[in-house]
Symmetry: C2
Subunit: 178 residues, 2 copies
């Protein structure tokens, strides 16, 4: 499906960047729904260059450090928009080790089961806290044609997801203690 390709094209379509900056974007904003390590990003950038979707120019930082700043070509923009406009058939529910363990939780002792639920609850409460802090960077809802609009929507979605998971785990604890 080449999703990494389109994630990169989409980001470069917002602003020209180096591979390192792309990596930072994946770590920060996009980490709630897509991500890639540098070992996957650099080869993909090379491939996209060969395919004519992006170009780069080399900038020298300091004395001799070479940076490759990548920019989307017209062909790359076309390619990206075509992907964005195409229908997305719903994927299978994502794999989730925690849910798998909860599925088998009847095999645990009462204490171990309780620990499993409460440990998960704590971790998700922590993530929720961070997301809410993140949200404070928006002082108002961005316009639907600004780059921040999608950012706002997915952050809202992430917060709703974590709230739901915390609720669910709360119910699991409740039902487990009957």
């Amino acid at each position: 499906m080449r999703t990494l390709k389109y994630a990169i094209l989409g980001l470069l379509n917002q602003t020209s960047m180096t591979g390192y900056e792309l990596m930072k974007q994946f770590e920060s904003t996009l980490s709630e729904f897509w991500y890639a390590k540098h070992s996957q990003i650099y080869p993909e950038l090379k491939k996209l260059t060969d395919e004519g979707c992006i170009t780069f120019d080399i900038q020298i930082s300091g004395v001799s450090l070479e940076k490759k700043r990548y920019t989307v070509t017209e062909e790359g923009k076309k390619d990206f928009l075509k992907w964005l406009e195409a229908d997305t058939e719903m994927e299978a529910t994502p794999k989730d080790v925690s849910r798998l363990k909860i599925f088998f939780s009847s095999k645990l002792s009462d204490e171990a089961r309780k620990h499993l639920f409460e440990d998960q609850l704590l971790q998700h409460q922590c993530r929720l806290h961070h997301l809410i802090q993140n949200q404070s960077k928006f002082d108002k809802i961005p316009a639907n044609d600004s780059d921040d609009f999608g950012d706002y929507l997915v952050l809202m979605g992430a917060i709703m997801r974590e709230e739901m998971i915390c609720q669910w785990l709360g119910k699991c604890i409740e039902l487990s203690e009957r």
Copy 2:
């Protein structure tokens, strides 16, 4: 992490099964949080046999059809419990192509963006409907030491997730139309 290994051990720990029946289990119950194709299951069964986690006996069905019925060994049970009891550090948020598209949705026309949201909403409403139908197989909440307990919890979690996503997409449509 060998998660497939433990998913298989966990299922076989409930009842002995053939590879084909395991595949069916992945397609039905577990599909909300784990799954595997037969092309991944059969090699993994071979590997687990070599590792001494499971054994099999061959049954002849009809005239000549050979079925391998797999059973967990004591070692396999120990291995499974050790995995189940170990702490699970929270994974990265799962990758999600739809959310990636929504992240970039400001690049779409008003109509295309509306279509994206409404198409997703429809698909998730449909999945929610199926999940609720599934839930009706439980006439009461299973005891926390029965095999059905985990089944009930993850189904509840899946329903809550789909409800949350439908709510989120509703809000996306709302904010997009301002």
